[in-house]
């Protein structure tokens, strides 16, 4: 089996919000078609790490490189155009726009109009095209946000707590979608649902108080019990 190529490399990342330091010398690597998960308690710095990679938070020091090219200093929209799409935790879609318009926004930015791919993952969106996104359920919003992000064949998806507050049936559906997506795209997921984390992750980083305290790399040996001590 060949070793997948290194896609994203972050090292020595330090982030502070004013006086409060949030990340301390964080280093993380993601290879192509890999699912990497970050676990940790609230306030551990997981979401900040994703925002930092996506260009929304500027680190005080450190490097972030995609395929060897630095992403530091690029505005968030330029990072997105390089194929790194961030899906935030709050599930806030553009509520005044219809589902179709939300997807159009994703399509137009990337000039990728193959919606059939999105509907292949989330057939339910096909029946909701004319509905205002503000009238969707939490699960439907998450589908829309992921569907919008995968237009344009991103190389890396950064997904923040995708299953938070969702019904088990939707979580099961998302699990299959993540596995499918990882055939073509690398994923970095921040998640608290440990059975899901253990079922899909190739590698797990555990964060505590802004530091990576362990990296679990042996997929076969990862169990929810191993992860529990970090959440």
């Amino acid at each position: 089996m060949s070793v997948p190529d290194r896609l994203l490399e972050a090292s020595g990342l330090n982030v502070a919000y004013g006086e409060a330091r949030v990340l301390f010398d964080v280093a993380l690597t993601v290879s192509e078609r890999e699912i990497v998960t970050c676990v940790g308690r609230n306030g551990a710095g997981k979401s900040t790490l994703l925002k930092c990679i996506a260009g929304f938070v500027k680190p005080t020091s450190g490097t972030v490189a995609l395929n060897g090219a630095s992403l530091l200093g690029l505005p968030a929209h330029a990072v997105a155009r390089r194929g790194v799409k961030y899906i935030p935790q709050d599930k806030k879609v553009f509520s005044d726009l219809t589902v179709r318009e939300n997807l159009e926004l994703g399509a137009y930015a990337t000039r990728d109009y193959r919606w059939d791919r999105v509907l292949g993952y989330f057939p339910k969106l096909g029946t909701l095209m004319q509905r205002k996104a503000g009238h969707l359920s939490g699960g439907e919003r998450q589908m829309l946000m992921i569907g919008r992000a995968i237009l344009g064949n991103p190389v890396l998806l950064l997904i923040d707590e995708p299953t938070e507050g969702l019904a088990p049936s939707i979580v099961a559906q998302l699990k299959e979608v993540f596995k499918d997506l990882s055939r073509t795209t690398a994923l970095v997921i921040v998640e608290q649902n440990l059975p899901l984390v253990c079922a899909i992750s190739d590698r797990i980083y555990a964060l505590r108080e802004g530091r990576i305290v362990t990296a679990l790399e042996d997929r076969a040996s990862i169990t929810p019990q191993m992860c529990e001590q970090y959440v």
């Binding site: 929209h77 961030y86 806030k92 005044d96 159009e104 930015a109 990337t110």
Partner: protein
């Protein structure tokens, strides 16, 4: 065919009604409504679509008017070229200040635009008085040459021109509303961070929206200049800075019919009340406060659902009777 009819049906009915108003109302009033509607539609777009409130619209109105005025006073006689110069002046001015202004939050944006209106007012009244003729203004009514097809140098011809210009501007904004750019504008208003996740530069979207809106405002200014044959600093008076915002809110923010309905109501009220009482501004002020408290969606925003319901009921009754 049906889709085209649906797209054009509303505006054609609206502008036909405006044209018919000419039969019962003074020409000057109808032309004022048409030009003021064009003036307001940019403000309505900025407020309803992009989430920017601007108290500086008189600045762009004046830049359009003086662009046209300078051409017709100093350089030439063709009013169509004058209009083009005014519109170009507005687009250039918006393109210069836009990159600075659209970075600001909505409240600061409102104030910095008001400051621009004050600057333009004093530039035209004092600093550039040698070429603007200060408070006396530029008079060029007799310089304006006739134009082929529709002679916009004459009020009747100008009325048809204003009608067509209004319809064209309305169609442009209707097209923008249904486009991806229109969706981006709404998305900027809702949450520009989320738009950046998708790979859009929210700055570029705001800037383009700002330039489009203020170029439209400059068109209204240029039209005033050609219609009146006169421009003075009064056009950019900071005291009138709130007018387009008031008309936008009065008509219904974000709706394409709002500026037309708001202008009709505002201009009509001003016209009627000023004939009846002395301190008419005071009455207008109280009336506006009452209208806005009574229906925060504005006149069109309140009427439109009622009309829609009535239409749906009438259709259902018609189908049942058949």
């Amino acid at each position: 065919m049906t889709a085209a009819l649906r797209w054009w049906g509303g505006p054609i009915v609206a502008f036909s009604l405006l044209a018919l108003m000419r039969l019962v109302l003074p020409l000057a009033f109808v032309i004022e409504v048409l030009i003021f509607s064009i003036y307001t539609i940019g403000c309505s777009f900025l407020l309803g679509r992009v989430g920017f409130i601007s108290f500086g619209q008189p600045a762009y109105l004046a830049i359009g008017a003086y662009g046209t005025g300078f051409y017709l006073y100093y350089f030439g006689a063709n009013p169509l070229i004058g209009l083009a110069v005014g519109v170009a002046a507005g687009a250039v001015a918006a393109g210069i200040v836009g990159p600075l202004f659209v970075r600001l939050r909505s409240d600061y944006f409102a104030l910095v635009n008001l400051a621009l209106a004050v600057i333009v007012f004093y530039l035209m009244q004092k600093v550039l008085a040698d070429i603007t003729k200060g408070d006396n203004g530029l008079w060029f009514l007799t310089n304006i040459a006739s134009t082929p097809l529709i002679d916009i140098a004459r009020p009747e011809g100008f009325f048809f021109f204003a009608l067509l210009a209004g319809l064209a501007v309305w169609a442009l904004y209707k097209y923008i509303d249904g486009s991806v750019f229109g969706a981006c504008c709404l998305a900027v208003k809702a949450n520009d961070d989320k738009l950046r996740f998708l790979g859009y530069s929210s700055f570029s979207i705001r800037l383009l929206a700002f330039v489009i809106a203020n170029t439209t405002t400059a068109l209204a200014g240029a039209m005033y200049a050609v219609y009146l044959g006169f421009v003075s600093p009064e056009i950019t008076s900071p005291a009138r800075a709130a007018d387009p915002v008031v008309v936008t809110i009065l008509g219904g923010t974000g709706s394409l019919y709002g500026p037309i309905v708001g202008t009709l109501a505002y201009t009509g009220m001003k016209d009627a009340i000023s004939k009846l009482v002395g301190n008419w501004e005071l009455f207008i002020g109280f009336l506006l406060v009452f209208i806005m408290l009574a229906g925060e969606k504005g006149i069109w925003g309140t009427l439109q659902p009622l009309m829609q319901n009535a239409l749906t009921r009438a259709r259902a009754r018609w189908r049942r009777d058949r």
